[in-house]
Every structure is written in structure tokens, then in C-alpha cells.
Symmetry: D5
Subunit: 97 residues, 10 copies
């Protein structure tokens, strides 16, 4: 089941650089592990912002919340979740160029 | 180049049903043609709303505007475009489950 | 799986009373049928507004959208969906007074 | 009498972990005591956010405010209260699947 | 139990004057009847707007909704309800000048 | 002349408890003195928030600003003032139950 | 007593031109009469909008509402009133160049 | 050329009182000097807020920005500028009472 | 003197196509005439919207308002004006590649 | 390809002056280097705010994000990007006065 997830990161401007770097490094590792599991099929940077737009593919709302709240940057993010449904005009992937 | 496009449809409540149906039918045909060209790789329904969230893959801003303004429902939609960039933590598709 | 659904109804002020009454009557019938199926466990009126706050219990996002878009008042409603997860402090129902 | 209560928690990012843990632990104890009294019949986590959506069942506005302001996280929460009324289409609980 | 109620009236600009006058006249009669019952203790005009700010004194949320939805202008109003509680610094009426 | 005043208090979360208590104690004393003078005829707590809704009865805008800015919590409050006028449907107090 | 008044005019786009012209002509006459009485000391156009920013000088809130609601365009305007007080740094007019 | 300028001051709540006082004192001196030059013809306090509404009379946008950014409180203010034009219904000052 | 002008066009969905075409054709002629006079140096389409972002170069606020309100689509546009000043880091045009 | 970029700078009010000065100095150097490369053709100050409105001319979204996130003030800016397309009424530069 797909969810659209928008994440805006807001690190405190006075966080020491090494702590911010450590956080980001752990965030990257966790994010890539979730991607490898096939549960985070799309992850894009919003141009000009410390923000991303993502698509998650999970079993249910509880799994979605567990994944998002496991992210090391979770306490510093403003996250908005939008449930996605099948669109009647969407073609199957194999029908696209 | 990828763009995140959010479209909210607002048909006037007093539009005759046959005219609305004709519009939606033409919209579907145009939307599927753009998908077949590979320029609209993702199209999802927002659960509970007459709205979609889409990803477009186009050469530039002009092509994006040309495609969006060619949609039969364009005069009835509130559209928000967000330019997407490569995310440094995103794995290539083949690395995902 | 639970979803929080807020619905604000906006009937055009010039809709003839008999057409509005017919719509509302069909809405009530559909709403009660969905409740009987156990998929709409809570439905409350927002005091002072032609609006409701509801909890839906569905298999997935697609079923949720199918149910909501089947409502006769769907074209006249502004609907906001919020996915709900288990809260770690919530007691099971039988533990409450 | 039922009230819809939305709570968004905003702990200062620099609060020491042990103080945050102590606060959360006391919050959980108080929240469960209010649930046991039957005055907080529903408590859900908003997926992806440190927030909840709750239903309170209280005698009046004063009792509601007393309960909410007794929560240890009260100084760190943005709370919105919506009074709920009986919905004319709502079936009694025993009529649902 | 007290509720703060803000009402913004939005009559369609093309409503015939006699129909608007009839509506307003019925609104006034109903509003004064509710005041006579002691359930609408304060009613003020917001300077410069076709809007009011009111205090209602009712038994519960259901009575409040019943009163508000009985107003002839109800379909043309945007209403926001805020539940009020006793303020710890408020003096009893007899202690004020 | 009546004014509707909405005050939202936002104390910094790291203010020492004794300083906050002293502030609140002085606030209460000043608020009650203004009430005794008959210039603050209504003061209600907004249920679930550290906020109030008030009615002030003053000679003019300057007196209103002088009173509000004399409150010890003034630097920590977000205040919104709405001028009130006589409502044509309002009954005199003695005509109400 | 001074009030800051922002008025945004929204004439229905399908209002016949002669009716709009008649309205605007009556509006101008009333606006100039209020200015002649010294109660509308400033009236500016917001560049690029069918809107104005004004200063009114009236005895009290009731006179302000009476003047504003007497404007022929009142039913088509969104009006926001802000009460103004003496600023401690403002020089008397004669002290300015 | 006239501009409408709204300034909301937000001093950090933990700024030492003497530093705040020094800032405000310098602000007053600069503000009065600009008034004496005839470039700040109106300055009003917004009742209930640490905010003002002002009218500036300057040669062009660059002079306006130079004046505003010279204010000692500039780093602590949220400023909104609205360009004003001649209103077709405005009477010359000498035609007003 | 430069102004940033954002224009969002909102034609009524039921405007007859020939009337809309005539309006747009006149709009284009007027817009190009203002460009030829050097007073509208930049005009861009916002991708995905019936909107533009423009830069105007005019003598003062009055000229800006006169130009904008002369546009045939003016009654159907929501326009926001932002005054621009010289940026201290901006290089002269000839210093750019 | 052109993008409209709005940047609002929010330096923490307690940042030491020398650190702020160093940041601004590096910001200016980087901004001027990007201008020299022809990728930042317009940069204007918003009158009255520590903000700018800019036009970027880049190859694609990735280049835009790389440039913006290379700015020394990037962690302190709220940036909004709007993709621009060719406007059908825009004249070529040489056709303007």
C-alpha cells in the first residue's frame, strides 16, 4: 500500500557540526536499509530545500509509522503523510515508454 | 528531469453530467497518451479527494507547462509544481528489493 | 486499519430543496450501509457546522477511497484523510471504565 | 459529552534525553489513568507525527480542561478541541458489524 | 456550559432583496427567542463585517448544535465554536465595578 | 466601548519554574485589579489551551492598549483585538431569562 | 479615535456593467461625504488591487460600523478593522518636515 | 511616493532588559529623526500588540529599504510593505472637515 | 523603479469561449504595448498554472497601478505587488557571463 | 531554463556579529561567482525585508539545487522555487524599449 510522505528537516542552527554529521550519516544508513527492503521505493530531494518527497510501500499504517519514527532525523522533521490509491487513468508500468 | 505535480480538480457543481463525463473521458485519453510517451511515470489518486499526485519526466519547464495545459481538465484544476532533484541517500532502483 | 476522515459539506446555496433532500436521504442510506458493514465505526457531527468527523476501518487505501467516493455527497464535500496508527499509551478497550 | 482533541507534541530539541524520558513516562501513566476512568475512550497516533487524535468523554468543558492541563506534556503540546454532537446518520454501536 | 461562537454570514450576492430580508427577519426572531430562553447571553456585531461573536450557555454539545442549526441563516454562515472553561483569575460578577 | 480580546500565552519552555510562577502570580493580581475597575467584564479560559478569550470595556483604543501592555505576561502573549459594536438583534440583558 | 480599515472589493464578474457603474458612483459619493465630515481622513488605493487602505476617525466602534455598513459596496467587500493607539515614538504633526 | 508599512516586533524573550532598553531608545531616536525629515508621516501603535502601522513618504523603493533597514530593531521585526497609489475617491486634505 | 508582480488569472468557468478569447487577445495586445514601452521588462509563465510572474519598471506606484488596472484581464486577476530594491550583492549586467 | 527563487534569510538573533559578518561576506562572494557564470541573472532585495527574489538560469533541477545548497546562508534561509516557462505574450528583449 502506497503513501506519499513529505519530510522537511529543521536542524537547530546551533547544533554542533559533528553531531549533525553523525545524525545525517545514521539517517542515510537507515534510509538505505529501508529502501533495500523495498519499502521506500522513491526518495527525491525538493530543489532548494532541506526536504524530500517520498513514496513508501508498506503493509499498513502501523508499519509506516514504525519506519518513519525509526529515522534518526525524526525528531527534527515535520512530516506529512497522504494515503494514495490506484488512479483510474494510470497505465500499468509496462505500458509506458 | 522530474517534477512533482499535485492536481486538485474542482468541477463546477452545476456542470451537466454528460459534459462532465465527456471532459473526464477526454482527460483520461490524453493522460494515458502522455503516460505512453514515458513523460508521466507516476499517477496516484489522493484517497478521499478528487485529486492526484503525479511525477512528470520532461525535458524542461516549457515541456512541463505544455503537457499540463493540454489536459482537458486544466481550466478546472489547481496545480502545484515542485521541482525534484537527485537525493543523496537514494539508491538506484536495482538496489531495492 | 483505521483512518481519521474529516468531511465538510458545501451544498450550493441555490440547489433546489427537493434535490438537496434527495441527496441527503441517499447519503444517509449509503452511510448507514457502510456502518452496518463495520467499516465506518464512528461518525460524529461537528457542533455548529455541516461537517462530520469519522473513523473508517478498512483493508487499505483503495477501499477507503472507494467508500468515500461512493457517497452521494462526495462531489460537495471537502475531505481530509489522516492515517492512524496504534498509540503506545492506548489501553485495550476492556481496560477502560 | 464527547470532544475531539488533536494534540501535537513539540519537545525542545535540546531537552536532555533522561528528562524527556521521565516526562513521557509520567505522561503515559496519567494518560492510562484517565483512560481507565472511561474519560478518554479513544487515543490514536497520527502516522508519521509525534501527535495524537483523541476522543474525550467528559461532564463538561471544565472537566475537559482540567484533564488536558493535568497532562505532564501539556506545556509542550499544541491542542485543538472540537465539540462533537450526535450525527443524525450514525447507527447505534450494536447495529454495526 | 459556555461556548464562544463566531459566525460569519455570506449571503450570495445575487439573492433577491426580498428573500434576503425575509431570511434576516426570521433570523432575528429566532435569535431573540433563544436569547429570551437565556441560552444566548451575549451577541455582538464585529465592527465592519457581516459577522457576530456570541456566547452560548447550553446544557451540552447537542443542544448547542441544535440551536445553531435552527438559525435561518445557518446554511449561509461559517461558524466556529470554541469551548470555554472557568478562568482561574476571573472574579465573580459581583466583585466587578 | 467593548473589545473582544484573544490572548495566547507562550512561555519559553526553559523558563525556571519560580520565575514563571512569579509572573503568573503578578498577572493574576493585575488582571483582577482591572476586573475590579469594571474594565474587563469577561475572562474565559479556552478549553485545552493556555489561552483566554476576554471582553474589555474601555473608553478608547489608547486605554485598551495601556491595559493590555500593563499585563506582566504581555511580552509572552500573542494578542488579537476585535472591536465590537451593538448587534441589531441583541436584546437588553433584562429581557433574557 | 483612529481605526485602520482594509477593504478588498470583490464584485461578481457577471454583474452587468451599468449596475457596477451605478454602485461605484454611489460609493464615491458616500465616501466623499464621509471624508467631508472629517471621519475618513485617509483613503489610499493598494497598487495592483481593487482594494484600499483607510484610516477612520470616529467616536466609537458603533459609529465605525455604521459608516462602513452604509457604503454601497459593503456587501461586496471583505473588510478588516484594526484599532490604532498613540505610538510613543510618534512626533506631533507640526514637528515633521 | 507613499508606502504602507506594517512592523511586528519580536524581541527574544531572554534578551537582557538593559540591552532591550538600549535598543528601544536608539529605535526611538532614529524613528523620530526620520519623522523630522518628513519621510515617516504616520506612525500608529496596533492596540494590544508590540507592532505598528506606518506610512512612509519616500523617493523610491531603494530609499524605503535604506530607511527601514537602518532601524535598530530591524533584525527583530517582521515587516510587510504595501505600495499605495492615489485613490480616485479621495478628496484633497483641504476638502475634509 | 522595479516591482515584482505576481498575477493569477481566474476566468469564470462558464464564460463563453469567444468572450474569453476576445479578452485574452486584447490582453495580449495591451501587454505587448506596455512591453514595447519598456515598462514590463520581464514576463514569465508559472509552469502548470494560468499565472505569470512579472517585473515592472515604472516611475512610481501610481503608474504601476494605472498600468495594471488597464489590463483587460484585471477584473479576473489576483495580483500581488512586491517593491524591489537594489541588492548589495548584485553585479551589474555587464559583469555576468 | 529559468527558475524563480524567493529566499528569506533568518539568522538567529543571538549569532555573534563577527560570525554573521563572516557568513554574509562568504555569501556575497559565492553569489557573485554564480552571477559571473551567468547562472543567476537577476537578484533583487525585497524592500523592507532581509529577503531576495532571484531568477536562476540553469541546466536542470539538479544544478539548481547544487547552486542553492552551496550558498553559505543556505542553512538559514527559507527558499521557495517556482519553475518558469515561456509566456505566450512575452516579446523578445530586443522588441522592448
Amino acid at each position: 500500500m502506497l503513501f506519499h510522505v513529505a519530510m522537511q528537516v529543521r536542524l537547530p542552527p546551533d547544533m554542533p557540526a559533528d553531531r549533525a554529521d553523525a545524525l545525517k550519516s545514521r539517517e542515510k544508513a537507515v534510509a538505505q536499509e529501508i529502501q533495500r527492503q523495498g519499502k521506500w521505493p522513491h526518495l527525491w530531494r525538493v530543489a532548494g530545500r532541506y526536504a524530500n518527497i517520498s513514496i513508501f510501500d508498506v503493509a499498513d499504517n502501523d508499519e509506516l509509522h514504525a519506519l518513519l519514527s525509526s529515522l534518526p532525523l525524526f525528531p527534527y522533521m515535520d512530516i506529512t503523510v497522504t494515503p494514495l490509491a490506484q488512479h483510474p487513468s494510470a497505465l500499468p508500468a509496462e505500458a509506458r515508454a
